[in-house]
Amino acid sequence: MTDYILHLADNALVLGHRNSEWTGHGPILEQDIALSNIALDLIGQSRNLYQYASELIGDGATEDSLAYLRAPEEYRNNLLVEQLNGHWGKTILRQFLFSAYQYPLYELLSEHPDNKLSAIARKSIKEVTYHLRWSSEWVIRLAQGTSLSNGKMKDALNELWPFTNDMLLHSETSIKEKWQNRVDNIFKMAGLVIPKDVEMTTGGREGKHTGHLYKMLEEMQCLQRTYPGMDW
């Protein structure tokens, strides 16, 4: 159970952190703010999950020790969320592929017998609804935009698709189906085609990450590791 909560928390934190790298660099102010808001929601969700995990772990664990003092191999996030931002379209597509998974997952967890977990899921799903709609619309807009934006979305899809199985591997069948249906629907409207015969990379849940997570955590954790216990 603790390992699962950490997995949920790590997904939210890593994607939230990645999105926050856009703050101040977005293509236009409104969308920069939108992605920063999504980053804030995800990091907030991760805090709720880490706080709960730290209660379960005990032994002095805190939300901060879990985020700042675990090694990359101890992180249980999926490979998709740690991938580099790339261009704006790739960031949007990564968000869509993740939100399309997080939405049915939190729907299911809202009914979980564990009261604390279901409360976090119910709280979060209201936010995820916005993320999913926003990213769905932008995937369509960009893929249907100019030949340049369309080409960029196709490239992004080729780059990200190999990491999608890692996310679905351990999921309930109902979630896989809902994810697949949504992806099919949105891609149909966007005119995107799922790449064929792709070699999938997995291992996020077992702590086998791509090099990108190491670099990200090195930067994110450096202050706590250099000055342990440092506070604002």
Partner: protein, 180 residues
């Protein structure tokens, strides 16, 4: 806020009720750090007041607006400071997530204050649907000129709880405290 009285009957109940009212009136004076025209009570985030020891020890239960609302830590501290200043020795702030906060809990006077401040108040909550794309945005009245001829600029505004609109009649951009 519906204050649930946990103590049994008689005069003890009445005393506790009065003390809860007093605490509530103190909380009326604790502003939200991001939208200072609203108090924490206007926002509807105070979920319970539990007197542990009359005049000395109290537990305040609050709920966050959004998971990542950065104001929650400041709000907790401000509530604590207010009660400590008013003679309490022990103030416990408990956070609950369930039931999830909704703008339906915002007070009517809070909505009036928002409008006067230049932020369009939330309407009645509508279920945000992830399946309806490119939907017509909610009709929001301009807080400056009351025109309904307004347009959504972005569903994500300067804080998690706001969207950005623009009035087509008076040309004024404005924040809309979105339904949630």
């Amino acid at each position: 806020l519906i204050v649930i009285v946990s103590v049994s009957e008689g005069s003890a109940t009445a005393t506790i009720m009065t003390e809860k009212q007093t605490i509530l009136s103190l909380l009326y004076a604790v502003p939200d750090p991001e939208v200072p025209v609203l108090t924490v009570n206007d926002l509807g985030i105070i979920r319970d007041i539990n007197i542990i020891s009359p005049g000395k020890s109290v537990e305040i239960t609050i709920t966050p607006t959004y998971s990542g609302c950065p104001a929650m830590d400041t709000i907790s501290m401000n509530i604590k400071m207010m009660l400590l200043k008013n003679g309490y020795r022990d103030v416990i702030i408990t956070r609950v997530l369930s039931p999830a906060w909704t703008t339906d809990w915002m007070t009517e006077s809070g909505k009036d204050k928002l409008k006067a401040y230049g932020i369009a108040p939330p309407g009645k909550t509508m279920q945000v649907n992830a399946d309806v794309l490119f939907a017509e945005p909610a009709k929001v009245k301009c807080p400056q000129c009351n025109s309904l001829n307004t347009t959504l600029v972005s569903e994500f505004g300067s804080t998690a709880c706001k969207a950005l609109y623009k009035c087509r009649d008076c040309d004024e951009p404005f924040d809309y405290f979105k339904c949630h």
